[in-house]
Amino acid sequence: MKSVRIIALRKDRKRLLEHLQDSALVMVQKGRKEEKGFTRLDTSAQIKQFERNAELTEQALKILGKVEPEKKGMLASFKGRKEIDPDEIGRIASDSAKVIGICQKICKLDKQRADYAAEQVRIKTALAQLEPWKKLDIPLNTKDTATTAVLIGTLPRLYDDTTLSEALAGECPELLFEFEILYSSSNLTCLTLFTPKKQREMAEKALRTFGFSQPLNPTSRTPAVKTEHLLDKSEEIARKDEDAKNDIASFAKYRENICETQDYFNLRAEKYQVIAELDQTKHVFVLNGYVPEEDCSKLEAVCSKVPSCVVEFEDAGEDAPVKLKNNKFAEPAQSIVTMYSTPSHGDIDPTPILAFFFYFFFGMMFSDAGYGLLLIIGTAIAIKVFKPDKRMRNNLKLFQYCGVATVFWGLVFGSIFGDAPLMFYKMFTGDDSIKTMQQLLPWPTLDTQKDALMIMIMSIGLGLAHILVGMGCKFYICIKNKEYTKAFFDTGLWMLMLAGFAVLAVGMATSQVVLYIGAGIAAASAVGLVLTQGRGKKGIFGKLIGGVASLYDITSYISDLLSYSRLLALGLTTGVMAQVFNMLSNLFGTSVFGIICMILIFVAGHAITIGLNALGSYVHTMRLQYVEMFSKFYEGGGKPFEPFSTKSKYFRTKGSNDD
């Protein structure tokens, strides 16, 4: 990584920045104080404006998506961004005002629809309140006549004609009344009560003792008319809502323009963020940034398009960002490394090692030649058909390489869609003499079920190799940093010890001599550890105790190694599940119906197996890398290299370096 300083005339600023943004070569240093004699431009207002516009388009797209969902295939997420000509950006820019206008309209219509929905709720409540008064044929707010008082209201209990008249007579014997019950349920009785006008107060008092209350929002129309009126209103609102919805839907044809406009505003916001970081004088501006060493000449070429421009390179310091660069084999695994953490300057790039073990272990866990082939073919088709962006392409490649390893291990374990070849062989030849895949396949294979112990030892052996490679990296880093004591005593001795145990284990199976050699190595390194691990402590006892205590670390190594037994466990899971589904699909015999059932169960069953086990293999491989290997040497915490680029979501300009 080099740090770079680009100096140019201010009048060329726009052009140069556009070139830089397109080429995506430079990462601009952010948060740096301006140098003496320079000023900074405050672009926050513009940035805010652009971001607001981008947000508006996002909102409009969401609304459009709700009203008129985009027809997307299930696999559309693989698809790369649309490629456009660089000149198109001018068109998008000149259209942007119009598109923003459309977005505003969409948002406004959506707001109207929200208001309509609220109104509908209000109407619904009003209708529900009117429901018990349906039978009332006078308005709810009917006033008294010349001689008769009219009381309309509710009682909070169930009454019928007899109980109510008894209750009223009991409460107030001299009251003259006539009433009509309009509605009654267990906790509500609606009634109208007539009484001579001079007895009104008496009647009110009597009713109030039963909890009488007058209806809320009395109206001057009869409930039936009012209900009809409300229903009409509701219908009208529904119509308006439908219109608004159609209006929004009519904008769906602009969806692509809105997407482009969103990208355009994000792109400009990004550019203005960079402008705010430039040191400027009246005529000149300076851009400070980082560029990967191999891209220096490319950057010079880009800058030479602007004649006033001067480029200076310098060695970057410790806090420079990190860009990973790997060959085709390892590149797909970069995302796995960065998902953990970007390497810092003290680290080595672990990607190549990780890539190898990732593919290898994934294959061992997924371990089926048929599934592996499907992975290889599926990803190849996806890459070919959808032309995905680099990120997605790398992810697909990752699974493609994993697929290759899967085929390899599938052949080792004699598993091709489980024991499907054996099943078909038996079915169509009726030959029962062959009992296992091992007998059917012409090459020697391991049976995950019968040779489980053997495969477990193998898994742990591979784990040991994995861990030793991790420790080897630590050793190398220490040597590189000239920390020789750390390298030899803290890492080297442990490596020796683990190797000693490995030799000892081999010796147990083969010969006494090897066993003694292994034990000797392990014991010698243990003594070495006791002598050296307490070196930071004070006093002879402190040193000794520190040294002995360090031997306790052996437990963590043992648990690390045992953790690799998952290679066996997951491999076995895949094999057994596949076998079970084969067995199920075979249950229905060879009639036409049986064959149809067989195909259905076979396809569905293997789809389930692939889904579950690919996921399991992915997760557990990742864990083996992160927990068992990275813990041995990898620190991470570096800053990723994020170049100044278009960062667009929907389009990419043709020929740009941005991916």
């Binding site: 079920q449 998952r566 057994v576 579950l612 864990r623 927990v627």
Partner: protein, 160 residues
């Protein structure tokens, strides 16, 4: 009679392994799925990551099932010879490891998955950390599985 008893014990063993480990996974995946659905109701674009985290406590059930299946293939139900009484007991004893190891670790992993899901919901960058932390629980189910497995595959060779 011994043969029937041996058979019964072997089938019981398959049931113990499958059912108890399954209970662990069912509960673990269930609670994780509930939380994940809560997250998805806010932002459905996280579905892929949520699916991964939700399925992590599901392996215990699979391990239990595999032990159960291996027992069935070697006890005369789906192949193999009818076990003796002693072999039946051996199957049963072996299945307890994954049965209970799987169940309890399934509960624990489910809880871890719930926390991992909320952590990922807050910031998607936490996904890999959450994933690794959840798989830390898995090792105990794995150890139980290995113990069950090693016994089950060697039982048919035991003579008693």
């Amino acid at each position: 009679m011994d043969g029937i008893m041996g058979m019964f014990l072997a089938i019981l063993a398959a049931a113990v392994a499958t059912v108890f480990a399954g209970i662990g996974s069912a509960k673990g995946v269930g609670s994780a799925a509930q939380t994940a659905m809560g997250v998805l109701s806010e932002d459905s674009s996280k579905f892929g990551k949520m699916l991964v985290l939700t399925l992590l406590p599901g392996t215990q059930g699979l391990y239990g099932f595999i032990v159960g299946f291996l027992v069935l293939t070697s006890c005369g139900v789906l192949g193999g010879d009818m076990p003796t009484l002693g072999q039946g007991f051996a199957f049963l004893a072996a299945s307890f490891a994954i049965g209970f190891g799987g169940m309890i670790s399934g509960f624990a992993q489910g809880k871890a998955a719930v926390s991992g899901i909320t952590m990922t919901a807050k910031d998607e960058k936490n996904f890999s950390k959450a994933m690794v932390s959840i798989t830390l629980v898995e090792i105990y189910a794995l150890l139980a599985f290995i113990v069950s497995l090693l016994v089950v595959i060697s039982v048919p060779n035991l003579k008693f």
